[in-house]
């Protein structure tokens, strides 16, 4: 049984924030869950996926976040409790339905999880999605611990039903990926069947109806504000004339800092969990009870601005500060030491920070080598990039490479350097359209299989229809690799019990009107290069589907096969290092051993035997068995 399905109540589990969200949803009787995977939200969907296999829960990896949100909304307007989870930038994709779903509302509880990524661990930006609550006028909860993540998720379903509005649950990387003790509550049995009760004046927001619904949303917003004002998730603790306002993971840094600084009896903490609509009443009481306020929140001055507005409304003028060159930055994430130091400075306390060991003081002046992430040994993306860059070298062709979001983004690193621009999911194809239209260089765009399904298809239709001329390489490794090998509609190696139809990328491209399509196995270098040459010579928009499964996924699903090993022959004794200068497989490296007989050497533990290197270097050959 899945550990999050335990019936035991008051059981203490060590859970990731994301797992706690899943447990909270199960305790609320969620019946319908959707996601598109993305760090740091992925484990929410992955746990639902496994839970759905042994419970009444319906779960799907939707094709993108917009689809995920709309599907969940469909269940929720039919009276069924639904959850939709995504990373912060996913909510940009789903912003269109979000804004109008707020107008029509829901009947069954609906919770939308947005997992933000301050410090940009695995994203392309660090936008603060609390702004979406304000933009959409939807209630928002911000947990500060795994336990709270569970409690707030459960409560969010109730809030959603009381207001007939979807509720945003906002986490950050540190909350989603911290693990702490969570106490279980009873599991609620879920209502899996609903009914769509027609109400066109509400659910059909043509202008006349939308105007009415906007009014409804604003008035529900005031009810939500009253709920926030009375919410047990917004608390003032402590005594004294110094105030600190905080929410989310930063609350923990504040509590630890106040203890460390020994100022517990001098500080009041206003901890916000129900952060939108802003709870003005308790905020006003808090402002009226202190002499100055430090706001401790990551990224944008969301609480700070709201506290200032409240102070102005009640006519109190006290210092309310947070985002300030002397205090906190709007960049990156906070840490406990930083928060302790700023609190000490703001309240003018004596404080000496600990003195970290500084390797710059090492008189040996050791150069520490970097360790950037890299495409794995045997990764078919490397083979595709190699084929493309080799053909360009051989034909002395210069090209621009718009790329997309996935493991293959790492193709920007040397020696491949096959990535010149990326913006967001699907933008490789559409950027290629614009770049190819106004420049003279060849444009070769790269997109992964899951990303193509996510938001590549519309761009491809647009490109065909508007006669844009570029090469699109679809890097099809048969899984959503970067986020942990989630399935998508085009997978051929399927999880146990998978009964969903296969949708062919090649057939989609043909359906989009692409006439020149080749499907190649990138591990076959000659055929891949031939396809690239053909595409370069053509005057048509061409698509190359480079299709070979992610070796990590293949090994996990089908078991590790012992592939054939390769060795470098004794004739590799010149100063030729072309393999690492152009291909860059982590299994191939310079032989620096004192008794080295060959220039290069293959690390047997890293090599998975893809056999691409032997196709471009005759000095490498299969091991004799």
């Amino acid at each position: 049984m899945h550990p999050l399905l335990t019936q035991e109540v008051d059981k203490k589990l060590l859970l990731l924030g994301n797992e706690a969200i899943v447990r909270g949803a199960m305790e609320a009787g969620v019946a319908f869950a959707t996601t598109y995977p993305g760090t740091p939200a992925s484990e929410i969907g992955d746990n639902f996926f496994r839970i759905a296999a042994e419970s009444e829960l319906y779960f799907e990896y939707s094709i993108n976040e917009k689809v995920a949100l709309e599907a969940a909304a469909g269940a929720a307007v039919s009276g069924v409790r639904a959850m939709c989870s995504m990373k912060h930038v996913g909510l940009n994709v789903a912003a269109d339905p979000l804004m109008t779903l707020a107008y029509v509302g829901v009947r069954g509880g609906m919770v939308i999880v947005t997992a933000d990524d301050p410090a940009i661990f695995s994203s392309q930006n660090e936008q603060d999605n609390r702004m979406y609550a304000r933009l959409s006028n939807l209630p928002m909860l911000e947990p500060a611990s795994a336990q709270e993540a569970k409690e707030m998720t459960e409560a969010a379903f109730g809030i959603s039903e009381a207001l007939e509005l979807p509720v945003l649950l906002r986490t950050t990387t540190r909350l989603s990926h911290c693990r702490s003790i969570v106490t279980t509550g009873p599991l609620e049995s879920s209502k899996t069947r609903g009914a769509f009760e027609k109400e066109s004046s509400r659910f059909v927001p043509v202008p006349a109806n939308a105007r009415v619904r906007h009014r409804v949303l604003i008035s529900q917003g005031e009810k939500a504000r009253n709920m926030a004002c009375r919410s047990p998730f917004n608390t003032v603790t402590g005594t004294g004339r110094w105030g600190i306002g905080t929410s989310g993971i930063a609350y923990n840094y504040v509590v630890d800092a106040i203890k460390d600084l020994g100022i517990k009896d001098r500080v009041k903490i206003f901890k916000l969990g129900f952060t939108y609509p802003f709870p003005e009443k308790p905020a006003a009481e808090f402002i009226g009870s202190v002499d100055k306020i430090l706001v401790v929140e990551e990224l944008e001055p969301f609480l700070q601005d709201n506290l200032k507005v409240t102070a102005q409304t009640i006519g109190i003028v006290i210092p309310i500060a947070g985002k300030d060159p002397e205090l906190f930055s709007r960049l990156y994430e906070f840490d406990p030491g930083m928060v302790r130091e700023v609190i000490a400075r703001f309240f003018q306390l004596d404080y000496t920070p600990p003195r970290p060991v500084d390797i710059k003081e090492d008189t040996e002046a050791v150069q520490v080598p970097m360790r950037p992430p890299n495409l794995c040994a045997g990764c078919p993306h490397r083979a595709t990039y190699y084929a493309v860059t080799s053909v360009l070298r051989e034909t002395q062709t210069e090209a621009v490479f718009p790329t997309d979001i996935g493991c293959y983004t790492l193709g920007f690193l040397p020696p491949l350097q096959a990535a010149d621009i990326f913006i967001c999911m699907g933008a490789s194809i559409t950027l290629a359209a614009g770049i190819s239209r106004v420049t003279d260089k060849k444009v070769i765009a790269f997109i992964g299989d899951s990303t193509f399904f996510h938001s590549g298809i519309t761009g491809l239709i647009n490109a065909v229809h508007n006669r844009h001329n570029f090469i699109l390489v679809i890097l099809d490794n048969g899984t959503t690799a970067m986020t942990g090998h989630q399935p998508h509609p085009g997978i051929e190696i399927t999880p146990p019990g998978w009964d969903k139809p296969y949708i062919s990328i090649e057939a989609i491209a043909r359906g989009c009107g692409v006439e020149q399509i080749s499907v190649v196995n990138p591990l076959n270098l000659d055929k891949t290069k031939a396809a690239v040459k053909e595409a370069l010579e053509s005057n048509l928009l061409s698509v190359i589907v480079a299709k070979s499964p992610c070796p990590l996924y293949e090994a996990r699903m089908l078991g590790k096969k012992k592939k054939r090993g390769f060795v470098v022959g004794p004739e590799c004794n010149t100063d030729c290092t072309e393999c690492i200068d152009t291909f860059g497989c982590p299994a191939l490296y310079k032989n620096t051993a004192p008794d080295a007989k060959t220039t290069m050497i293959i690390n047997d533990n890293v090599c998975i035997g893809c056999g691409v290197c032997i196709q471009f270097c005759k000095k490498i050959r299969p091991k004799k068995i």
Partner: protein, 194 residues
Amino acid sequence: MANYRVFLTGVGGQGTLLATTVLAEAAIRAGHNALTSEVHGMAQRGGIVESTVMIGDIKSPIISDGEADALLGFEPVETYRAMRKCRADSVVVSNTDPTIPYGVAIGRGDYPNVEKLFDFIRSRVKQLITLNAHALAKQAGSALTANMVMLGALAGSGVLPVSKEAFEWTIRTKAKEKFVETNLRAFDLGFAAL
């Protein structure tokens, strides 16, 4: 009781995240509060994997510079790189077996002399414990148990208020059945490696 902050660092694939969870569960078994933080996603593709375990009355899941009580380094250069987390009274446990970064493998940059790295660390912290976790793991029966060797060494250092029994109980409960004995052997070899 006192609080303890443990910083773990290594390279993707070394099993640092499993070690993180086992350490936290063992601390809970020993009657303490524990919390961890981890980093997933792009960072893991052959890159550095950092995580933390807090034991005691601590709410913050991450460790600021100079605030780790113990540092568990699964790779010598990564131990050195993470020294900013330590201060003069920290205890460092490090694997001696290098994982060569790709840039070094292709001749861009050199892998530093490990003994010199350790000399510097020794001069700056209370205690440095080094062991070849890879060799001990092989001795235990599987190179994949280097993470348990490292946990064993941390337990053996006596820095943390977590008994050997609590670790052993956790390994028995959390590891897959067929790997329990190998993992326990690896843990023991690490424990005795001081």
